[in-house]
């Protein structure tokens, strides 16, 4: 069996829900205190054993590639001249580049074609027929056991594509995520019978929402090409549709519930702010002071 060594991260969106700052700053680079969101995802992938990370960028927008690239010479000089504290900082930021092998793919816009399926097809040449993790860069897990490691472990047992999932039962969630239903194999593991994108509460196939990324086998790509052929201009090209067709053909697809993990989203203002606060509280340098500040706020509000 092929070991999972590669991951694909799409970073070609326009982040319009975070405008105006995303006019020039890609949403994947929005700060969580002092570290961009995408780095959280990359670090978790690397910890799970991923060696090569393929990032799909919008043509001409290469800020993410610059971030994982060389430290600018001027900044380097400035830090080296600034004493031991700044020299240590330089080491830290140079380590960002060495986290993994980064491969960048330009996604060239096709009028009217958008959605989660597209970046995978653009990344295909870099995948060289290997299975891989497909995950987004504006949401992530903070887990006691690495979420991608949980998915890889399930992939190794089932030898089938994996849909990362968590229970989501707020009414609005059913209009926001894809949901899976199927036959329980083990605790938190389903043989998927249905996958529906944004089913709405009335049509939900279950309560497991697809939100932790995927492990994708080469066979899924064959299906994805087939889906692409039938996408009409202006309709979304869903990655999940390929999995749906596989299931219809009687192929095995597994939904794996990510356990012991907290999910963070940064895709809209409110969720972004909640995530920033959660990361700030955990921050080694400012966490304690920030917590104190928040506590003060809540105490004042409470007494009003």
């Amino acid at each position: 069996m092929t070991k999972i060594r590669k991951a694909v991260i799409p970073a070609a969106g326009y982040g319009t829900r975070m405008l105006p700052v995303t006019k020039t700053v890609p949403k994947e680079l929005l700060p969580l205190v002092d570290k961009p969101v995408i780095q959280m995802v990359v670090e978790e992938l690397v910890e799970a054993g991923i060696e090569e990370i393929i990032i799909v960028l919008a043509e001409g927008r290469h800020e993410v590639a610059r971030y994982f690239g060389d430290v600018d010479a001027g900044l380097k000089r400035h830090l080296l001249a600034g004493g031991p504290h700044k020299a240590a900082l330089l080491e830290e930021i140079e380590a960002v580049k060495g986290l993994a092998t980064f491969t960048y793919v330009d996604l060239i816009e096709e009028p009217g074609i958008y959605g989660t399926g597209n970046p995978v097809l653009w990344a295909e040449p870099a995948l060289k027929g290997e299975p891989f993790i497909y995950t987004f860069a504006d949401d992530f897990f903070v887990a006691r056991k690495n979420s991608y490691a949980q998915m890889i472990e399930a992939y190794e047992r089932y030898q089938a594509p994996i849909i990362g999932c968590q229970l989501r039962t707020n009414d609005a969630d059913y209009d926001r995520y894809g949901y899976v239903g199927g036959d329980r194999q083990a605790d938190g593991e389903l043989l998927v019978g249905t996958v529906i994108e944004r089913p709405g509460k009335a049509n939900k196939p279950g309560d497991l929402a697809s939100l932790g990324g995927f492990i994708v086998t080469p066979e899924v790509l064959t299906y994805l090409h087939e889906v692409r052929k039938h996408v009409h201009t202006g309709k979304e090209f869903y990655f999940n549709a390929a999995l749906g067709n596989m299931i219809k053909d009687g192929k095995k697809v597994i939904a794996k519930e990510i356990k012991n993990a907290e999910y963070y989203d940064t895709g809209n203002k409110l969720e972004y702010m909640k995530t920033v606060v959660a990361m700030a509280v955990r921050h080694p340098e400012i966490g304690a002071d920030f917590q104190k500040f928040l506590q003060g706020f809540v105490n004042t509000e409470g007494s009003k």
């Binding site: 326009y14 319009t16 975070m18 405008l19 105006p20 700052v21 995303t22 006019k23 020039t24 700053v25 680079l29 929005l30 700060p31 205190v33 002092d34 570290k35 961009p36 780095q39 919008a58 001409g60 800020e63 993410v64 610059r66 971030y67 430290v71 600018d72 001027g74 900044l75 400035h78 830090l79 600034g82 700044k86 900082l89 830290e92 930021i93 960002v96 816009e109 203002k269 409110l270 972004y272 702010m273 909640k274 920033v276 606060v277 959660a278 700030a280 921050h283 340098e285 400012i286 002071d289 920030f290 500040f293 928040l294 506590q295 706020f297 809540v298 509000e301 409470g302």
Partner: protein, 293 residues
């Protein structure tokens, strides 16, 4: 003379936010969804400033792009997604003022931006401000400063009261005597004196409004600069005060000072901004209360 120009110093490396500032200039750090520098620019514009000179360096391209029209691709995405209002909002950013960009070639100190922008600053008053700390005040901080200038014709330094002991180690503290203007007429400004040595509790923060004449003094200190130490506006200001020019310390009234220049203060700032918003303020407040109960 009407104040129409402002200079924003935006050439720092922002090392306190690394690795994040490897990806974006610290001036572009978002106050929820709006870059800090846009917030400062909007405050300047609201106070009547027309020309905004941004002194930056080669790593700050995204600032220039932010104050440009949106890219063709973004425009297309917003048009096809029927987000006309949002498109209008991002387009308007480029019309806020006349933007003029100058590169600071060497980090010589806090007067360096004025050295490099000198040719754009003829003999007229202008505001000199940073883009990582600011006030939220009513009327705005820049309006209060311009009013004080209109009233006195003298240079104005925006100030806040020191509230914590560390403030005396962090800011320049001003000394002087109150006069008819109701403001402190400055005799000196002492950088980071410590609480014991501080001549008052008025700290000079964030911005200056310089009356005509300052650039001659900036020239003077630059010409005598030996490469040792830093070239600071405080040196030029002190020289002017010594030669009989008037500076007033203007305590910004009815407002709150935000220092987004370090991680903790930045975080506090964005929490305040998120709470004050119409769209997410209530939901965010509930989140904080739940989280901390």
């Amino acid at each position: 003379m009407k104040v129409k120009k402002a200079v924003i110093a935006a050439a720092g490396f922002g090392t306190r936010f690394l690795p994040q500032t490897k990806a974006m200039p610290k001036e572009m750090l978002p106050l929820v969804d709006k870059p800090i520098i846009q917030h400062v620019v909007e405050e300047l514009v609201e106070a009547g400033i027309e020309d905004i000179i941004i002194v930056s360096n080669y790593s700050k391209r995204s600032i220039e792009d932010h104050f440009d029209v949106p890219s063709g691709e973004l425009t297309k995405v917003l048009e096809s997604g029927s987000k006309q209002e949002l498109l209008e909002e991002v387009r308007k950013i480029s019309d806020l003022a006349n933007f003029i960009y100058v590169r600071q070639k060497e980090p010589l100190g806090n007067a360096a931006p004025l050295v490099y922008a000198g040719h754009l600053l003829p003999d007229e008053p202008f505001i000199y401000t940073w883009a990582d700390d600011f006030f939220v005040a009513t009327p705005s901080r820049f309006r209060q400063m311009i009013d004080a200038f209109d009233q006195t014709g003298s240079s104005i330094v925006s100030c806040k009261r020191a509230t914590e002991d560390v403030d005396y180690d962090r800011y320049g503290i001003v000394a002087g005597e109150p006069d008819d203007s109701g403001m402190l007429k400055m005799t000196t400004i002492i950088e980071k004196p410590g609480k014991e040595q501080a001549p008052s509790d008025l700290a000079s923060v964030s911005s200056y409004l310089f009356a005509p004449g300052i650039m001659g003094y900036v020239d003077k200190i630059y010409k005598s600069y030996t490469g040792q130490g830093e070239l600071t506006v405080q040196q030029a200001m002190q020289m002017m005060i010594n030669e009989g020019h008037t500076y007033y310390a203007c305590e910004i009234a009815n407002g709150q000072y935000y220092d987004a220049g370090n991680k903790l203060e930045y975080l506090k700032t964005i929490v305040d901004f998120a709470l004050a918003r119409d769209d997410i303020g209530d939901a965010f407040k509930r989140f904080l209360q739940d989280k901390l109960r």
